[in-house]
Amino acid sequence: MKVLAISGSLRSGSYNTQLLRASEELLPPEVDFVLYEGLKAVPPYDEDDDVQPAPPAVAALRGAVAEADAVLFATPEYNSSIPGSLKNALDWVSRPPATNALRNKPVAVVGASTGAFGAVWAQAELRKVLAAIGARVVDGEVAVGHAPTRFDERGRLEDESLQEQLQETIEALLDEAESRSLILA
């Protein structure tokens, strides 16, 4: 099984990317974890450019989503919503509507912020967007507030309850992916 991880934050020291790396440690050894690193290269969505072949960065993203059995998103919160770059990437992946790579794909959303609330609004927005695209959005929310203080030197979450929530969210995501693989088999 392969889990694709997409961080909505592009900066190298991103807490959301760190949260995804912390998630990787909780996966069973037989699960492949791929952290997507090409989000910054995705051009602004323009229907004139939405042709075959797709722009290379778009084709790479669509391919990575299509190959994954599940996708784990971590999003920061920009102005009460998700970062424009993440929404833009999802708009590309959402095309064409009936056969897009996220359709029926099990997905989960977590988030981290430097403020107190752990990007809960952005997470809610992202779940709404993913559901509208046709993804299978699993329940579970992990809101890592005050992110600079939450990780230990090895990058793991120090707070036990947050760690448990992350574990539960990942298990729900893997269960959904397993259940879907049985339907598709």
């Binding site: 064409p96 509507p97 009936a98 897009n100 359709r103 029926n104 559901a131 509208a132 695209i133 046709g134 993804a135 299978r136 959005v137 879907r180 339907i183």
Partner: protein, 182 residues
């Protein structure tokens, strides 16, 4: 006009198969400021009035949902609505059919998104006619109301005033023509 609830007498004896081209299974739900309608292109049904208890059974392929916008069609098939991948069909099977004049009451179970709920459909029957193709056919027009939340079809979006944009109550309609099986 005689009134009877004896279903063996009430329904034309025999087995009847659906003419899917001249039949429609659809839905109607209030959205924003008006009613929104859709139908399913791939449908199947059979009326078996050969035995003690006549039975109407039918189904519709979720993937064949027909609305005027491809984005909406895709959304209706997604887990937000019918979840076509996991639950590819909607289905109905009657347990009891009553007739009074040309009025029908059909009770049974309807299954949407994997959830079966009891339902009562009402409508009319057009008794058998001879069609131009040498066959014999009858018509049923049936409808019922369901609360979509009871089937886990609970998507909504708030209006600026906070009220939901999509109603919970959905009208289901079936206009079915059946041809007598040889």
């Amino acid at each position: 006009m005689s009134i009877t609830t004896d279903t063996r007498q009430a329904l034309p004896v025999g087995t009847w198969s659906l003419d899917p081209v001249h039949s429609t299974i659809g839905f109607e739900v209030d959205y924003l400021a008006g009613a929104f309608r859709g139908q399913f292109r791939e449908i199947a049904a059979r009326l078996d009035a050969s035995g003690e208890t006549p039975v109407i059974a039918g189904s519709a392929k979720v993937a064949s949902v027909d609305v005027k916008d491809e984005n909406l069609s895709a959304h209706l098939q997604s887990p937000d609505f019918f979840d076509a991948e996991r639950y590819p069909e909607l289905s109905f099977e009657s347990s009891e059919i009553e007739r009074q004049g040309d009025r029908l009451t059909v009770r049974g179970g309807i299954t949407i998104k994997g959830a079966e709920r009891p339902v009562e459909l009402t409508g009319t029957i057009t008794d058998p006619i001879s069609d131009p193709y040498g066959g014999e056919r009858l018509g049923l027009k049936l409808e019922t109301g369901i609360n979509r939340n009871e089937f886990g079809v609970d998507w909504n979006s708030a209006l600026p005033d906070g009220k939901p944009s999509l109603a919970d109550d959905v009208k289901l309609t079936a206009e079915l023509q059946f041809v007598r099986e040889a």
